[in-house]
Amino acid sequence: MKKIRLGTIWLDGCSGCHMSFLDMDERLIEIAEYVDVVYSPYVDMKEFPESVDLTIVEGALSTDHDLRIIKKIRENSKLILALGDCAITGNVSAMKNLYGSEAVLQRGYFELADLNQKYPSKVVPTLLESVIPLHEAVKVDYFLPGCPTPADAIYEMLKSLIEGTEIKIHELTRFGK
């Protein structure tokens, strides 16, 4: 059987959902029989590859880089799974929206900086006006909420996608779980 080409990416989130992924523990071995991880913080791959079957996205979109990469992911992936509340609602990442990116930069790079007070202009990407969930930028195929999404829910979701069965997501997880 051909293995599923799986990508995972960590955008504006805390990596808790990726930790939860690892919390599948010995079940990872079972999953590994069916999937090939082609892009992820877990593997060393610089560029997002072509023809990925499923990409699991953790985190919201908060920078111009996030927007570019999510569009590339959409082009190169058959399916996108939004993992966790940040990817689905913005969650903690989006809390700064109430004040705006300008206020956050002002606080971080001027008020709290003792030396070299200026906005970052190199290396770090530019912040968007506001943090948005994935589905406000691209089409998302599956939503798996949770903060972080419990390992059991990730396992059941992957199993159902591998086996082609249906699951009741809301029996496994919810916003804020």
Partner: protein, 239 residues
């Protein structure tokens, strides 16, 4: 006051023949017959205002759905409590509630005991269908025991109704219009300065979300005694 004669009415809910009194609402009769209709602003024991629209139902011959908590029953009417159209409308209503204010479940003190959150499970809402508005309101933490956080308010007005109808103080009210509407105390004074608030805490207990909550307690310790009001009204009636 001229009392309207109460008559018995026969009608159908989801094809089931039911009977109610003419002063009853569709929701009440559905409840008496163990027919589930999702609700949000409704709380047994309080008056109904139909502000959230979660309990909308379709009536044969009517174009728009109507809230079943305020609609009186009529002889021979045929009510449908769930259809693809109603389901889509309820999802949209819930989406709008989530996107209007900042309901960040993971940082909320009532996470796990919130009726907005549990409604997303009940209606199987995967994500919001409307973009987030990112509105910010000032939090009123002046009261010694309670906090009013309009950022988590869905404007169900349960707090206003319980304060007026059960406690008899009417310390709370709505202020502003549309998206900027919020719950205020007296004439928009800080909660601590409210002369009519008795600090009974009923508003906090009936709040479906984390908009009104008790100070200095953790997520694990939160107890929302929502059914206490229903009990209270029942007991008063027996006296």
């Amino acid at each position: 006051m001229i009392k309207e004669k109460v008559r018995v009415k026969n009608f159908k809910i989801d094809g089931v023949c039911v009977t109610g009194q003419s002063n009853q609402t569709i929701l009440e009769v559905a409840h008496d017959n163990d027919i589930e209709i999702p609700t949000m602003c409704h709380l047994r024991g309080l008056s109904n205002v139909g502000s959230c629209r979660m309990c909308i139902v379709e009536i044969e011959g009517r174009h728009e759905p109507i809230p079943s908590c305020t609609a009186k029953i009529k002889e021979g009417m045929e009510v449908t409590t769930s259809s693809p159209r109603i389901k889509a409308a309820r999802e949209m209503i819930l989406s709008m509630m989530f996107s209007e204010r900042s309901h960040t479940c993971s940082t909320c003190v009532v996470n796990g005991d919130c009726q907005l959150q549990s409604k997303s499970v009940e209606l199987e809402l995967g994500h919001s269908f409307t973009p987030y508005l990112n509105q910010r309101f000032e939090v009123d933490a002046s009261h010694k025991n309670f906090v009013n956080d309009p950022n988590r308010c869905i404007l169900c007005t349960r707090c206003i109704r319980v304060c007026d109808e059960i406690e008899g103080a009417h310390a709370l009210d709505l202020f502003g219009r549309g998206l900027n509407t919020r719950i205020i105390h007296d004439m928009d004074e800080p909660w601590a300065d409210s002369t009519s608030c008795t600090s009974c805490g009923k508003c906090v207990y009936v709040c479906p979300t984390g908009a009104l909550y008790e100070k200095d307690i953790s997520e694990e310790e939160v107890v929302k005694k929502r059914e206490i009001i229903t009990e209270l009204v029942k007991n008063r009636g027996q006296r």
